[in-house]
């Protein structure tokens, strides 16, 4: 069953067509890869899905509900979490405070209670342990290394228990050890039922992780299939090596 349906999304910036009738399906319980050369529209597509950009045309459905043009906080509340290519954490908050920002509160008065309940705190620390940075919990997040920031950003969205997580270059600029560690964590979460859509340039990472891979070029999907099928697709080779 298709959990996240992206249908015929188009988006232009001035004369540049960033996305043209792009259609991608993300199956529930799968890890879907999204690859393509620089400038092929992957990040723009993420921005459209998560409400940071309005598409010119097309629709995004999540579990059958239209979420096209929903604001980022609404999209997040639906159960779609994302990370950014340029890691975005809250630099002057501590690691533990960062973890609490996305923790959901019930009722309109919920946010006026203390920023951390015992339950939230133990959940936050559990997730920090899950990604292996629990020992840094009291540190201002700006003091973390680039890789640690990526792990924190990843752990941050887990606290809201999203159904689907969009990862924008999770392995970009991260050393191989940490890349493997991250891939492990993604697989583990996937086994627990979390769906993933992953943009990545690291082919080894994509090929080892993803169930299906979509290839984008010039704002449209040019191929879809298992990693092996995609790797041997002439159109894909053309997109990467041609032009």
């Amino acid at each position: 069953m298709s959990m996240l349906e992206i249908r015929n999304i188009s988006k232009a910036y001035g004369g540049i067509q960033a996305l043209s009738a792009c259609t991608i399906n993300v199956e529930q319980g799968k890890i879907t890869g999204l690859i393509g050369p620089n400038g092929s529209g992957k990040t723009t597509l993420f921005n459209v899905i998560t409400g940071y950009e309005r598409p010119d045309a097309g629709a995004v459905n999540f579990n059958g509900t239209p979420i096209t043009n929903a604001a980022p906080d609404r999209v997040f509340a639906h159960g779609i979490g994302r990370t950014f290519q340029l890691t975005r954490i809250f630099p002057r908050l501590t690691v533990l405070e960062n973890m609490h920002v996305a923790a959901p509160r019930n009722g309109s008065m919920g946010i006026f209670r203390r920023w951390s309940s015992a339950h939230e705190r133990s959940r936050a620390i559990e997730l920090l342990e899950f990604v292996g940075i629990a020992h840094l919990q009291g540190m201002p997040a700006e003091n973390l290394s680039y890789g640690q920031k990526k792990l924190l950003e990843f752990a941050c969205i887990l606290i809201a228990d999203p159904q689907v997580i969009l990862l924008d270059e999770p392995a970009g600029g991260v050393n191989p050890t940490m890349t493997n560690q991250l891939a492990d964590r993604i697989r583990l979460l996937n086994q627990r039922g979390v769906t993933f859509l992953v943009v990545e340039h690291n082919m080894e990472f994509v090929m080892g992780l993803c169930d299906t891979v979509n290839v984008m070029h010039h704002g449209a999907k040019i191929a879809e299939g298992t990693p092996i099928e995609v790797r041997n697709d002439p159109a894909v080779l053309e997109a990467y090596l041609g032009d």
Binding site: W115, S145, Y146, M178
Partner: protein, 352 residues
């Protein structure tokens, strides 16, 4: 940690006892103005410090509060006793109501644009005070009832009313800082779009903080108006007020709980004393400016964050130098997974 409440109680007792110990009117006059500015800076910090939006138009709400009390007193023939003090919250509410549409418009912008918009709003408010002669009497100003009490006691009620508002503003600031709502405001300060994407209701959160700060500043404007007895547009709506509360907050440490109070405690008495001793020569402004320069040079982050940092360094150094004390957590070494800068930089290219 256990000594903290005792320290706070001692400070509170000192603040309460101050006008009783030093009943000299020169000192109590400075004390009244200082608590007013300390409370205003604290209230301004609730919005500007926590959200990172530098508003330079809060004098509009100070003036609104001042004129509200003056107009109410005229129309309702309020007696010149303690009744005007009871009307302060109402004046605060009026300022808050005025701030609601202004905040709604101004908060559609960010950064420098927001600063300019708030300054423009302040000037519009000042112009209205000049031109709505039917209610404000324009540049002729408005008079408030002259308090019945006098002599050495004169400043006392104003001082304690100001102190009460300061404590209230401090309590609200503390509560916000420790709430989930406040965490959302700090997240907005660091990365507003990311906060929105993590479910923080950024729009309503910012607006609420703006309105809360306007409420307190409006109350303080009304208190100030009753204190000085007659108000005129350029003094009730004073651009220097905007600059002063911002400077006090920056000096003490923006975004900290007690930084704004500390800044006000240093700057307001300094300004008043310089004016008293060097007022005629005009040198007091030069002195004031020099003091600011020194602070900016030595403590660019503000006093509270700098002291906090030095204290952390000092305790860490002391812990290292005494070998038989139980070793505290050492400063964390860079993790083995930390990145070579060249590798990290590569990940930052690519498309957007």
């Amino acid at each position: 940690m256990k000594s903290k409440p005792i320290w706070l109680l001692a400070l509170l007792a000192a603040a309460v006892a101050l006008p009783l110990v030093f009943p000299n009117p020169t000192i109590t006059t400075i004390a009244v103005l200082t608590v007013i500015f300390a409370a205003a800076a604290t209230a301004w910090n609730i919005f500007a410090g926590y959200t990172g939006y530098i508003a330079l138009g809060h004098a509009a709400f100070f003036g609104t509060g001042a004129y509200s009390l003056a107009i109410i007193c005229q129309h309702w023939h309020v007696p010149a006793d303690f009744t005007p003090f009871a009307l302060l919250p109402l004046c605060g509410v009026i300022a808050a109501v005025v701030s609601l549409p202004l905040g709604l418009v101004a908060l559609r912008t960010r950064g420098h644009t927001f600063i300019v918009i708030t300054i423009a709003m302040f000037f519009v408010a000042q112009l209205l005070a000049y031109d709505l002669r039917g209610v404000t009497h324009g540049s002729a100003g408005l008079s408030l009832p002259i308090p019945l009490w006098s002599g050495d006691f004169y400043n006392m009620p104003f001082y304690y009313a100001g102190l009460l508002i300061l404590l209230l503003a401090l309590a609200v600031s503390w509560w916000i800082r420790n709430s989930k709502y406040g965490l959302g405001l700090l997240a907005i300060r660091d990365d507003e779009d990311r906060a929105l994407g993590l479910g923080v209701k950024t729009g309503p959160s910012k607006l609420l903080a703006f309105v809360i700060s306007a409420f307190f500043v409006g109350m303080l404007g009304a208190l100030w108006a009753y204190y000085i007895e007659s108000i005129f547009p350029p003094f009730a709506f004073d651009a220097l007020f905007d600059v002063a509360i911002a400077l006090m907050t920056f000096m003490g440490g923006i975004g900290t709980l007690v930084g704004p109070i500390l800044g006000a405690l240093l700057l307001e008495p300094a300004q008043q004393l310089f004016a008293v001793y060097f007022g005629q020569s005009g040198w007091y402004l030069v002195l004031y400016g020099a003091l600011l320069l020194v602070v900016i040079l030595l403590l660019p982050e503000g006093i509270v964050p700098t002291i906090r940092k030095r204290w952390a360094q000092w305790t860490a150094a002391r812990a290292r130098s005494s070998p038989n004390s139980p070793a505290p957590a050492p400063p964390l070494p860079p993790s083995p997974t930390s990145q070579h800068p060249a590798i990290a930089a590569r990940g930052e290219g690519g498309e957007r």
